[in-house]
């Protein structure tokens, strides 16, 4: 789906959001756009507003001020159900339904959309292969029988099921062990290139941001500090960017990976 390929797929126009209960804004005056085919990584510490930003895109939250546009249409004008079914969503730990088999989990959105059984079956097999899991071995299993990495792959497969043009990922690999995380990151990078998906990817891991992002948005206290390509980010003079990059250099040779 690459109609009007220059028009941004997602656009934030001076967006602010705060919970009704507290006066302090979670995000304030956010303005940026996501071009079709790019992977925008929102990088920041816990509580900086990056997840909130993500949730504003698929109507899980609504802005208090400003506008969020998806495919040129404000989220307030979208039917939330329609918008969400056109948007893939991946969260930490996958958020798989424990009482659904793997096949049924992956087939969730196609089933909601009323696809035929045969078409759903084909699609599930295709997706399981795509995320590197043998369909015959996994289709009838349940999430509790899978490893964390396998569950996360299923989470990605589920998000891709109805072939959405936009993927939203909220720290999808955050809870995995470093080795599994690294291999999933590599696979995801290849996958998103191959499928030409637009993605907004939230993480606090600068390595992940550099690996996956076509642009990196550094967030702090509800504001976007900078929005640059990985190359620019590496050369950035910004204090916060430097602080993040510092973490990559620390004790080389000790064999100790930075953890979350």
């Amino acid at each position: 789906m690459s109609e009007a390929s220059n028009k941004p797929l997602v656009e934030f126009r001076d967006v602010s959001f705060s919970h009704a209960s507290s006066a302090a804004p979670i995000i304030s005056h956010l303005t940026f756009s996501v071009a079709p085919g790019e992977t925008l990584v929102l990088l920041g510490e816990s509580g900086c507003g990056k997840t909130t930003t993500l949730k504003l895109i698929n109507c899980l939250l609504m802005p208090n001020a400003g506008e969020v546009l998806v495919e040129g249409k404000p989220t307030t004008a979208w039917d939330p159900i329609r918008l969400r079914r056109r948007t893939g969503y991946v969260i930490q730990e996958g958020g798989l339904f424990p009482h659904f088999s793997i096949a049924k989990n992956v087939a969730l959105v196609p089933a909601l959309e009323g696809w035929e059984q045969a078409r759903i079956k084909n699609r599930v097999d295709e997706l399981l292969s795509l995320v590197g899991l043998e369909p015959n071995a996994f289709a009838d299993r349940y999430p509790a029988e899978l490893s964390g990495g396998q569950r996360q792959r299923i989470g990605v497969a589920r998000a891709l099921a109805a072939d959405p043009s936009l993927l939203l990922l909220d720290e999808p690999f955050g809870a995995l062990d470093p080795l599994t995380r690294a291999s999933l990151q590599r696979e995801f990078a290849e996958l998103s290139k191959r499928l030409n998906k637009t993605a907004v990817f939230v993480t606090h891991d600068v390595r992940e941001a550099l690996l996956l992002g076509s642009r990196i948005g550094l967030m702090q206290a509800g504001k976007l500090l900078l929005l640059e390509t990985p190359e620019e980010f590496l050369k950035s003079k910004s204090e916060q960017a430097i602080a993040y990059l510092e973490t990559l250099r620390v004790p080389a040779g000790s064999g100790k990976e930075e953890t979350q």
Partner: protein, 523 residues
């Protein structure tokens, strides 16, 4: 008689009681599920309602069951006597665990899973049916399981409001001090509770996520699941079928040919009721028996038109229903009761049946002989060293303990023990207490060597046995007039004592005892 041969002999009655019990439990649990689960779901959507609704359900569950039944009886539509009232009460008790577990189950769904469901574009209804309810199901079923076990227990008390069930045997067993009866009521109830607990436990395990495992095993589990569901459904349908058939047959009979005979919850009352019932049936009248109603239930039921006739004692009507001070002239009491009942309740009072059943102040025969006691006044000198045990009825009524102890200036070693009337005889005989207030026609007085002290100050009002009949029923059923005329002055105190003794002490079937007596009398 051994327990097994008792079961064999009483199987037809026991199976009816079992069926009644089962249908009470199943219907009330189904109704509670139908109300409780939607209510629970609503409470997860409206948090502000949660506190108040759960609070009310909580309070309802703390009401003692007998009190709740009593409270329901005078209410229109949901009250009265019989299965409907019992079901309402059972539903009240079953609601809390079901509502609470529905709320707990749904709010306990992993927030990650819920967020994923919303983000995938599921509608609220889809999330409820496909995610929340299936995941909450084990917890909800635990609630149903608790509710059902509670209902099986509380349903034994439903016998007190004429709803039948295994409680009939338990109450009767307590009254007659008959272990076979007690066991025949309690054991099946306990088994039923265990089976329900086990069956729903299996269902709960089936739904639990921990049991979701790969394909091979699921088909076997699915088969089991189908079988369990089918069995449950079959039981439910049978229960409902039985329930509906009973109510159909109750409704289908033409008004003119049907008489509902009630009785109080002690043997003598049931025997007197059975006498009328058998005589009416012999004359082609269809009779519905509604025996063993506790407290003032028969009176309330009669006013509500649910009982046509029941045996009563003039002194009880005079003091407990009409709230007069006790007097000792039998004729005056009878006339006053007759006039007031006709005027206030449109209820007729039959001719006296020929015997009195007054409170009999009893002590052990050995004690009476040793201390040479004849009258209550003489005994009053010894009571400060004695313990007394009285039935609930005697403790509370106007002509009971409060007035009695004042009239004789009685004082006891300790506050009188309040207990089940039928147990007081045994308590006295075995020396647990030293003085009780029994019934003068009680069959076990002689059998247990108890001595009746004379009421030398004529404190107790006369308790002549009579039948109370709705005037409307007398006008409708002419056979009733004939039967009542036959029974006037027809039962002596000795005969009544003998009838009581046959049932209470010899554990004989009450209908059989009555049949023999009717035959002997040539009615």
């Amino acid at each position: 008689m051994s327990f097994i041969s008792f079961l064999k002999q009483n199987w037809p009655e026991l199976s009816t009681l079992l069926r009644q019990h089962l249908s009470l439990v199943l219907i009330s649990t189904l109704v509670a599920v139908a109300i409780g689960i939607p209510t629970g779901i609503l409470l997860t959507r409206r948090k502000s309602l949660r506190g108040p609704v759960l609070g009310i359900a909580n309070i309802m569950q703390t009401i003692p069951s007998l009190a709740l039944f009593g409270f329901l009886i005078p209410l229109p539509f949901i009250g009265g006597i019989g299965a409907r009232t019992a079901i309402v009460a059972l539903v009240v008790y079953a609601l809390l665990p079901i509502i609470r577990n529905t709320v707990t189950g749904i709010t306990g769904v992993d927030p990650n899973v819920r967020e994923a469901a919303v983000a995938m574009g599921m509608t609220g209804r889809q999330i409820l049916w496909q995610v929340e309810l299936p995941l909450a199901m084990p917890v909800i079923i635990t609630g149903v399981r608790v509710a059902m076990v509670i209902a099986i227990g509380v349903a034994t008390i439903a016998a007190a409001v004429g709803a039948g069930g295994l409680g009939v045997y338990i109450f009767r067993g307590l009254r007659q001090y008959d272990n076979n009866l007690l066991l025949a009521g309690a054991v099946p109830a306990a088994l039923m509770a265990l089976i329900a607990d086990f069956g729903l436990g299996l269902l709960e395990r089936y739904f639990s996520v921990a049991h979701k495992r790969r394909a091979g095993t699921t088909s076997a589990r699915k088969k089991f699941m189908v079988a369990a569901t089918a069995a449950t459904l079959a039981a439910v349908i049978t229960g409902i079928y039985v329930g509906s058939r009973e109510s159909r047959s109750r409704n289908a009979q033409p008004q003119s040919a049907r008489v509902v005979v009630g009785s109080k919850d002690f043997t003598e009352s049931a025997i007197l009721a059975e006498i009328v019932a058998q005589l009416l049936e012999a004359r082609g009248v269809r009779v519905e028996r509604n025996y063993e109603l506790g407290g003032n239930l028969p009176h309330d039921a009669m006013l509500a038109g649910r009982v046509d006739i029941y045996p009563e004692y003039t002194g009880t009507s005079y003091t407990a229903i009409l709230n007069h001070q006790p007097i000792s002239d039998p004729r005056a009491v009878y006339d006053q009761v007759k006039t007031e009942y006709a005027h206030k309740f449109s209820v007729a009072v039959s001719e006296p049946l020929g015997f009195e059943n007054t409170f009999a102040i009893l002590i052990r025969g050995a004690e009476a002989r040793k201390l040479k006691l004849k009258t209550i006044s003489e005994a009053a000198l010894h009571t400060p060293n004695w313990r007394a045990g009285f039935g609930q009825d005697f403790m509370s009524r106007a002509d009971g303990y409060p007035g009695f102890s004042k009239a004789y200036g009685l004082r006891f070693a300790e506050q009188p023990r309040e207990m089940d009337l039928s147990l007081t005889y045994i308590a006295l005989a075995s020396g647990q207490v030293d003085l009780i207030a029994g019934n003068s026609t009680e069959g076990r007085i002689a059998a247990l060597d108890l001595f009746q002290l004379e009421d030398d100050r004529h404190y107790f009002p006369p308790y002549e046995a009579v039948y109370l009949v709705r005037q409307e029923t007398i006008a409708r059923v002419e056979q009733l007039r004939e039967v009542l005329a036959k029974l006037a002055h027809a039962i002596s105190t000795e005969e009544m004592r003998q009838l009581n003794y046959e049932v209470d002490a010899n554990k004989r079937n009450q209908a059989e005892v009555v049949r023999e007596w009717v035959k002997k009398k040539g009615f």
